[in-house]
């Protein structure tokens, strides 16, 4: 049985159809990649699943319970946590305090939350920066912090929105290892990613969105051979010429 099930979900902004009748299932323990060209509706789908936007139609079920009407904190409390594509660290808090906010999801007292936050900082490689202020971090560290905060809530499902964007290949490699470690601990992961190297390395299945609709879904190596996917990324002519899709 799937842990998260999205069925026929649509969302429009005025006349713009951001996502249209999107359906997919996420199984417990799976790592599903979500890709698509810019403006395909990936982030909108995240907003809808995490409760930040109400869908116009369709239904979503998480762990056997409907997500209709739940607000973001409700969904987080049930174990599904998202990160933001444009990272949003608490700028005037230290790295440790940032993570403590997430950890308080699991425990009621600040002291216990600090202990959890400490462990998460060790895991995410931010321990050395625990006392730095949020605003003093470099982009790669901010991305890590975004991940660390979400992780501190003790999630069952992590929704990662482009955590690799803007990183150097070395940093990307390290983050891939980190996400593998997290997945290895039993966390189910849905990840939006533009960096193909990461998608191919991590995902067991890939879901492709284009103009708000699902155009392909399957194993990564199958999906990149899919004619519709190549067209979506590179245009029809190149698809005919047989050029493979790339990041």
């Amino acid at each position: 049985m799937s842990l998260l099930s999205v069925d026929g979900v649509s969302k429009s902004f005025g006349g713009l159809r951001a996502i249209h009748r999107v359906s997919f299932d996420l199984a417990e323990g799976e790592m599903l990649g979500l890709i698509g060209p810019n403006g395909a509706g990936k982030t909108t789908l995240f907003h809808v699943v995490s409760g930040f936007l109400r869908p116009d139609e369709g239904s979503m079920t998480y762990a056997g319970e409907s997500l209709a009407g739940l607000r973001p904190h409700d969904i987080c409390q049930r174990g599904m946590v998202r990160t933001f594509q444009i990272v949003r660290p608490f700028l005037r808090l230290t790295v440790l305090e940032n993570v403590v906010v997430g950890a308080l999801q699991r425990v009621a007292h600040r002291r216990e939350a600090m202990a959890i936050a400490g462990e998460v900082l060790d895991l995410t490689g931010l321990a050395g920066k625990a006392a730095s202020m949020g605003h003093s971090l470099t982009l790669p560290d901010r991305k890590r912090l975004e991940l660390a905060r979400a992780l501190a809530t003790g999630p069952r499902v992590l929704l990662l929105d482009e955590v690799m964007a803007g990183l150097t290949p070395t940093e990307t490699g390290r983050l891939i290892d980190l996400i593998r470690t997290i997945h290895g601990r039993g966390v189910t992961i849905l990840l939006i990613e533009h960096v193909m190297k990461a998608v191919m390395a991590l995902s067991q299945r890939v879901l492709v969105l284009n103009y708000g609709e699902v155009i392909a879904c399957g194993r990564p190596e199958e999906v990149v051979q899919d004619r519709k996917v190549i067209e979506a990324y590179l245009g029809e002519d190149t698809a005919d010429a047989g050029v493979g899709a790339s990041g």
Binding site: F52, H73, Q77, R88, R110, R149
Partner: protein
């Protein structure tokens, strides 16, 4: 050890101080404590949770009028009446909070909402006979501690100091708790807080209610220190500014901010009054304003954060 010693020294000085200083200084100290207390109450909502209220005079007035009317009309001791006022103020804050937070008013729009409600309260008070309307409400002086009425300034000094210590203690507890962490997170980024499981609506409502209730308790103190309540004074927008300016100058979102801000502004006010009062009318206020601008220009984050930063740096250079 040094901190403990310092704290004890300050405590002893505060205990003996009112018996040694002239009565004008007693007034100055009472005013300092009292506005620091009100600033501390505002600080919970404005400084920690980052929801700026320009309408705290409404809660203040509810506290002042409720305890005064209960005492004069129904013979209820202000010591009890003050809690009735606090409850009413909390209720009003929950009403405003529901409207503001449920419909997502942020920043300027929330400020305007709080200001509008305070103005409505002022107009209501001006037209309610039981509150004395335009003429205001007088409280007859009959010294009786149970009626919150005392001879001389010294009891008021200790009550104001007690209010400040209790209020600051509460803020200290909040700051060290889950509530404090969540309020600061909400101030920094509401959406990110929601994503991390913080029920932002609930915690903002809680901060508002606590802040309003504490402000109302301060209103009762004012009523029995001044013995006269007039809507155009207690419910004036200037009064809301008086409440919020001290934590802002001292450093909002810190415990010592409201205290240092209050001390600084009282001293500036006293200095400009005594030095320039004999000259052109209104000159002292202009000087006060100019001094305020200078403070804000040079200490934009507030007195306490700047001071703490300097001290830490100095400590690092000479360990």
């Amino acid at each position: 050890m040094l901190r403990l010693g310092l704290g004890a020294a300050v405590g002893v000085v505060l205990l003996v101080l009112p018996f040694w200083v002239p009565s004008t200084w007693q007034n100055l100290l009472i005013s300092t404590f009292y506005y620091a207390y009100l600033g501390q109450a505002w600080n919970i909502l404005g400084g920690y949770a980052g929801q700026l209220s320009l309408g705290h005079a409404a809660f203040f007035a509810i506290g002042a009028y409720t305890s005064a009317v209960l005492a004069t009309q129904y013979a209820v001791s202000p010591w009890l009446g003050m809690f009735a006022g606090a409850a009413l103020a909390a209720l009003l804050s929950l009403g405003i909070g529901y409207l503001g937070f449920r419909f997502g008013l942020r920043g300027f729009y929330f400020i305007l909402l709080t200001l509008a409600v305070a103005e409505i309260c002022r107009l209501i008070a001006l037209h309610l006979p039981i509150l004395g309307g335009y003429t205001g409400l007088f409280i007859n002086f009959s010294p009786n501690p149970w009626q919150f009425q005392f001879r001389g300034k010294i009891p008021y000094y200790f009550i104001a100091l007690g209010f400040l210590c209790a209020g600051s203690g509460l803020v200290w507890l909040i700051q060290r708790s889950k509530l404090g962490v969540y309020l600061v997170a909400i101030r920094e980024d509401e959406d990110a807080s929601e994503a991390l499981g913080v029920d932002t609506f609930r915690y903002k409502m809680l901060a508002y209610a606590v802040s309003a209730a504490l402000t109302a308790l301060g209103g009762t103190f004012y009523a029995y220190f001044q013995f006269y309540l007039q809507p155009n004074t207690v419910l004036n927008i200037n009064h809301s500014v008086d409440i919020m300016i001290r934590p802002i100058v001292g450093g909002s979102g810190t415990i010592l901010g409201p205290v240092l801000g209050s001390l600084l502004l009282e001293l500036l006010g006293e200095f400009s009054r005594t030095t320039f009062a004999s000259g052109t009318a209104g000159l002292s206020v202009v000087i006060y304003g100019a001094l305020l601008i200078i403070v804000v220009l040079f200490l934009p984050r507030g007195v306490y954060p700047t001071l703490a930063h300097r001290l830490r740096r100095a400590g690092r250079i000479r360990p």
